[in-house]
Structures are given as structure tokens and as C-alpha cells.
Symmetry: C2
Subunit: 211 residues, 2 copies
């Protein structure tokens, strides 16, 4: 359990960045948790930005590994896609801080352009979109339909994952527990239903232009 000082600093940093965001955290505060001085932290990471970057990279790497481990059966049917997505839910349940931090990064992204393009998300998203695009009903329409559908599913997952404290406060712990208990089955059903329904036929999308 007791690892490197460096790794322990990364773990604390992840926790705090997820909880309070980049600007809400001081490197002295992170070091304090481990009883170290601020300069001990700066000895391992040359700046706050670098530390933050390493935390993000760590999340990205861990996420990739977990996804690759899940994705042993890369079939293109609805079940496989649903399985990949529901696995995400469990992943978020086990690493809630990572999810929160990624959501924060999503909000801060416009100002921090570097950490977008070369991200873990790209590959994962492309995989999912391609699989949906390969389904019978989705093959005939543009790829953006599949991307939109996938992004809606991801939204349903990520938003719920990030909302647990608020939901507990707004309703009750018990009610939230009930929601959490039926979330996976409900999601699975939603994904199946959504994929089975196929892409929405958008009439006015290039055809209605010459009206």
C-alpha cells in the first residue's frame, strides 16, 4: 500500500484536483496531506501544471488498460456495445474521483487545448462509433449519427456518475441507492432500445437546403 512518495503525491493530487478543481487546490495543501513541504512536491514535479498533467496522463493510461481488458470480445453487435458501455459504469463506480476530474477537464478544456486531441477519449470514442456505424440500421447514414447516439449514452453514464453527492442530498441516501441499483439494467435496456430504433431520419439535413 505504501508506495513511492512520488506515487503517493500523485494519488493525493488526483483526489484533490477531482474534489476542488485545478484552481481550488494548492500544491502546499497536497504536500501537507503527506506531511511534506511544498518544495518536496516541487522536487518530484517541477510545477503545478506538470503535476496536473501527470495526474491526467495516469488516468488516461489506467483507463486505456481497463478498457482493453474489458474489450476481449470485439463483436459488432448491440450486446457487445452495451457491454462495453455498462462496463464503463462499473469503472466509474470504482474510480469516482477520476470521473469527476475528467468532467472538470471537459469544462476547462477550451482554455487548455493541449490536453484534448491526443486524449484517451478519441480512440475509445472512435471504436464505439465505428461499431455502432457497422450495425444494420446505422450503416446507411452518416457516421455522425452513430457518434451522436454514442455520445448520448456516454452522457447518461458520466452525468450520473458525477451526480451521486447531489442526488443523495436532493433525495436521500436510500433513494439514491435504489437508483444506483437499477441503473445498470436500465441503461442496458436504454442502449438496446436506442440502437434497435436506429438513427433518426433527419429530413432537412442536406435535402431541405434547396428549399
Amino acid at each position: 500500500m505504501a508506495k513511492n512518495t512520488r506515487d503517493r503525491l500523485l494519488a493525493v493530487a488526483l483526489e484533490q484536483f477531482a474534489e476542488r478543481g485545478f484552481d481550488g487546490v494548492s500544491i502546499a495543501g497536497i504536500a501537507d496531506v503527506l506531511g511534506l513541504s511544498k518544495q518536496a512536491l516541487l522536487h518530484h514535479f517541477e510545477s503545478k501544471e506538470k503535476l496536473y498533467g501527470e495526474v491526467l496522463d495516469g488516468i488516461s493510461r489506467a483507463f486505456q488498460e481497463r478498457i482493453e481488458a474489458t474489450d476481449a470480445t470485439p463483436k459488432n453487435d448491440r450486446d457487445a456495445i452495451a457491454a462495453l458501455l455498462t462496463a464503463l459504469v462499473e469503472d466509474h463506480r470504482q474510480h469516482p474521483q477520476q470521473t469527476r476530474l475528467l468532467m472538470r477537464e471537459l469544462l476547462d478544456n477550451p482554455r487548455r487545448a493541449e490536453h484534448v486531441s491526443h486524449w484517451y477519449l478519441r480512440g475509445f470514442l472512435d471504436t464505439l462509433v465505428d461499431r455502432v456505424h457497422a450495425l444494420p440500421q446505422w450503416r446507411s447514414v452518416g457516421r455522425h449519427h452513430a457518434a451522436t447516439a454514442i455520445y448520448q449514452f456516454l452522457g447518461a453514464i458520466n452525468y450520473f456518475a458525477v451526480s451521486s453527492p447531489t442526488l443523495k442530498a436532493m433525495f436521500s441516501e436510500a433513494f439514491y441507492a435504489d437508483m444506483d441499483a437499477c441503473f445498470d439494467a436500465q441503461l442496458e435496456q436504454l442502449i438496446q432500445a436506442g440502437l434497435a430504433a436506429g438513427p433518426a431520419s433527419v429530413r432537412r439535413e442536406a435535402e431541405g437546403m434547396n428549399a
Copy 2:
């Protein structure tokens, strides 16, 4: 267009809080945008926290009004529910900063408990949940099933609303425009399909406990 200094400060504050979060913003920076001094701002709002609170209240009020305006036909069928939710998408398109700020508040909520319970969200959510719960297939199961379904829809909407800069950067402006163009129809279809499919029958939820 040129309102109160006070209202203009509120507008700038909303923009900045949405963009950079509470801790990423300085009251001096907000005042600077209007060519005012930091103390001019403190004359109108006695502290940064109070200013932030007023911004949130403003969003809450505006949101309530817009929802009530939309909700002229409170039927309990799937179409009405889908209409209420798709209206939300348009609402977010027109007020992207508000959505971003609310997402930030969702993340910061655990630390800022006051702004949860008495929120706009509660009433809106309850309305939606009740309507789903009143649908034929949903009537027989616990209310938390309806709440979970609604929250999944809200997630699909809010997540997409907040992701536009990232999506543009990750794919392209054109591809994002395609996604945005088909989002509403896709969402409508997803909601219809999800509601029609009914709640997932969770077998082990109180019955499998005595195994």
C-alpha cells in the same frame, strides 16, 4: 442593452464563473471587464460568495420561467415528456454558459451543501419523474426507476451541451455541426424508445436477497 451596472456585473460574472469556475475567477477581473475597480463590485455585492450566489439564483429563476413557459401542455404521455426534454436542449443551446456553470456547481456541490436542496432542479426533476411514473408500464414499479430513466436522459442532454468545445477540437467543426443538427431528432427517438421499453425488471432487487 445597456442595463444597470449591477446587472452588467452579474452578466460578466456568469460568463467568467462558467468559463473558469469559482476559484479561477477574481472579482477584480470581473470588474475590469467593465472598466470598474474591484471595490465598485464590492459596493454592489458584499463578497465574492454573495456575488456567486446571486448569479446562481439568477440562473435558477430564469430557468424556472423558461420551463414554466414551455410547460403549457402538461399531459402525461411520452410525447409531452419528450417535448419537455428536447426543449431543454434548445435552452442549453441558447444559454451555454448557464449550463456550464450548473455543471461546475454539480461538481462542487459536495463542498457547498446549501445550494442543493432548495434548487430549481428539485421541482423540475420531480415533475418529470412523476410524469414518467404515471406512464402505463412505469406505474407498477418503484419511483426510482422513473427517476433513473429521467436522469439518464438529462445526462445525455447536459453532457452534450457542455462538450461542444471538446467535440469541435476532437473531431472538427463540421462534424460537430452534423452531430448538433441530428441531436434533437436522435434524442427524441431515444427518449421514445427508452420510455416505450419500460423499466428494466430488476430481478435481484429485494427478491434475490433471501438467496
